[in-house]
């Protein structure tokens, strides 16, 4: 893959994220637990001392099994979660293909939802207006754009949501398990679009279980196991490492 510049785009530095699990849910339980000298809460590190730098134009896969902390890591990059130690720095606009459609409201029309969600993803009015037709065309929604979203089929819903997200003005794209939506032709279309973004030199971080997708889109892989970073290198080696 072509690398035009070596300037860092994402810096993840010594990041730790600790979740506190409460074992009691009311004053009564806390009080009784206290009397019985039970542990009232326990902690676990979802991420432990993760450090890497992603340069501009690079596309990196984050690999790991369920519960390894991949999505948590992605959320600290997007800003949804804040690390408990270390820091994350990003340069440019970050957009996430993370559970697209989160901002969709079923009672609004497709058109209204496009505007609302594009704005949620950080676009301003002019940018949305300029891209509106492209978004609708990509989603293949056609005349249904002025219908309320609650009448959409789940496929239509996902296509529109994905289309909004992929057309966001961005420098860094975070992708979480998104390529498993829609039917085969639409999936292929999405993949093509993402490849297009890579060619434009956008920085990309992909979380996926699908090794085929990962090999196809990324040239570097970071393997996380139980919150710890165990490998950082070429994507094929990373996949081997994951399987071992």
């Amino acid at each position: 893959m072509l690398k035009t510049s070596k300037a860092p785009s994402i810096i993840v530095d010594g990041v730790r994220k600790t979740f506190v699990i409460k074992h009691t849910h009311s004053f009564k339980e806390t009080f009784i637990g206290f009397l019985k000298r039970k542990k009232l809460h326990s902690e676990f590190n979802a991420l432990n001392d993760i450090s890497f730098v992603v340069n501009e134009g690079e596309s990196v896969a984050i690999l790991g099994y369920n519960g390894s902390g991949k999505s948590t890591l992605l959320k600290t990059i997007s800003g949804v979660l804040r690390p408990d130690a270390g820091r994350v720095l990003t340069r440019g606009r970050v957009a996430g293909l993370i559970e697209v459609g989160a901002g969709f409201h079923p009672d609004l029309t497709g058109r209204e939802n496009v505007y609302l969600n594009a704005a949620i993803l950080g676009m301003n009015k002019q940018e949305i207006e300029a891209r509106f037709d492209e978004i609708v065309a990509f989603s293949e929604i056609g005349e249904f754009i002025d219908n309320e979203v609650k009448h959409y089929s789940s496929g239509m819903f996902l296509r529109l949501a994905f289309s909004v997200a992929i057309h966001t003005e961005l420098d860094i794209l975070l992708v979480d398990e998104i390529l498993s939506v829609g039917d085969a032709p639409f999936r292929e279309k999405c993949r093509k679009k993402i490849r297009e973004l890579i060619e434009q030199g956008k920085t990309m971080v992909v979380v996926s279980h699908d090794t085929g997708t990962v090999k196809d889109l990324c040239d570097r892989g970071i393997v996380i196991r139980k919150g710890k970073q165990v490998f950082d290198g070429p994507v094929n080696d990373a996949i081997e490492m994951l399987k071992s």
Binding site: I11, G14, T76, V80, L81, L89, A119
Partner: protein, 292 residues
């Protein structure tokens, strides 16, 4: 352990730390999104109901009728206060604005769960747009109040407009401050919502909506009366009385002599509440996505 940042050379000024914003001041940067959130709040508020926004008028009308019959006629406050209906309604619209704004703002974060969990945007936008929806809700009610007041002889003066605007400002700031505070706590402890419900129950009775301020003056010890008068909601209600009711009465009613000074205090307390609310909100914001 920050190893990377000490080894790599880069210009830190070009970078942002994700998940950090400027709090309520981000409103200016995100004003387009805020306008869309407002529109969404207004459009979906009465979605699926046949009467829709008519409910915004039916509710205060029913409230007014009930209070007027019970407090005005049965308990005879009607006799002591000239133009009691106008007096009562100006209080009710003020309290309704406060109730609506605070209740919406408190649940705003939890109501937008899906977004808070998945996408970062300054979370203050949700309570702020909730207060905005309450304000949009309030203005037609104030318009009706004005029409009624005009019928009974209301005339324009700048002091009245100033009193109205200041009263509105105090309520909005105070409700937003409390809303940020309780809304942030509500994410981890849903008890906050119940506390707000109790506050709202008190709000109607702890300000001179259904009776006049001098009744408190005559009965309460002076420290309690002072406390009662610097309550920002009391200040706002009295300002509304000055704006709508005072111009339509002929016999000079006794007005609290410190009304404008108390309004100043009310505004200060409201701003203080907003500062505390914002600080608490910022402090707890980092854990919203994991606790919600």
């Amino acid at each position: 352990m920050p190893v990377v940042t000490s080894q790599t050379s880069f210009d830190e000024r070009e970078f942002q730390t994700p998940g950090t914003g400027k709090g309520i001041f981000d409103v200016f940067k995100y004003r387009y999104l805020l306008s869309l959130l407002l529109k969404k709040g207004i459009a979906t508020r009465y979605h699926g109901s046949v009467l829709g926004w008519v409910w915004s008028y039916v509710r205060p009308a029913a409230q007014f009728l009930m209070y007027y019959l019970v407090i005005g006629v049965i308990l005879q406050v009607n006799r002591g206060v000239e133009a009691f209906p106008v007096y009562l309604f100006s209080g009710i619209v003020a309290i309704n604005l406060f109730t609506e704004a605070l209740r919406n703002a408190t649940t705003a974060i939890v109501d937008n769960k899906a977004l808070v969990k998945k996408i970062y945007l300054p979370r203050e936008l949700f309570p702020i747009s909730a207060v905005g929806v309450a304000l949009v809700h309030f203005l037609p009610q104030a318009a009706i109040l004005l029409v009624v007041a005009l019928f009974v002889g209301w005339t324009f003066s700048f002091v009245q407009v100033a009193a109205f605007l200041l009263g509105m400002l105090i309520i909005v700031i105070f409700a937003l401050g409390l809303g940020l505070f309780f809304g942030a706590i509500n994410v981890a402890y849903r008890d906050a919502r119940n506390i707000v419900d109790i506050i709202l129950m008190f709000a109607t009775w702890a300000s001179p909506v259904l009776y006049t301020w001098d009744m408190v003056h005559d009965r309460a010890p002076s420290w309690l009366f002072e406390l009662y008068m610097i309550n920002p909601v009391t200040s706002a209600v009295e300002l509304f009385h000055n704006a709508f009711w005072l111009p339509v009465v002929s016999n000079d009613p006794v007005r609290p002599d410190m009304l404008w000074a108390n309004a100043g205090w009310g505004l200060l307390i409201a701003i203080g509440t907003l500062v505390i609310g914002q600080l608490v909100f910022k402090k707890l914001e980092g854990s919203f996505a994991q606790n919600i």
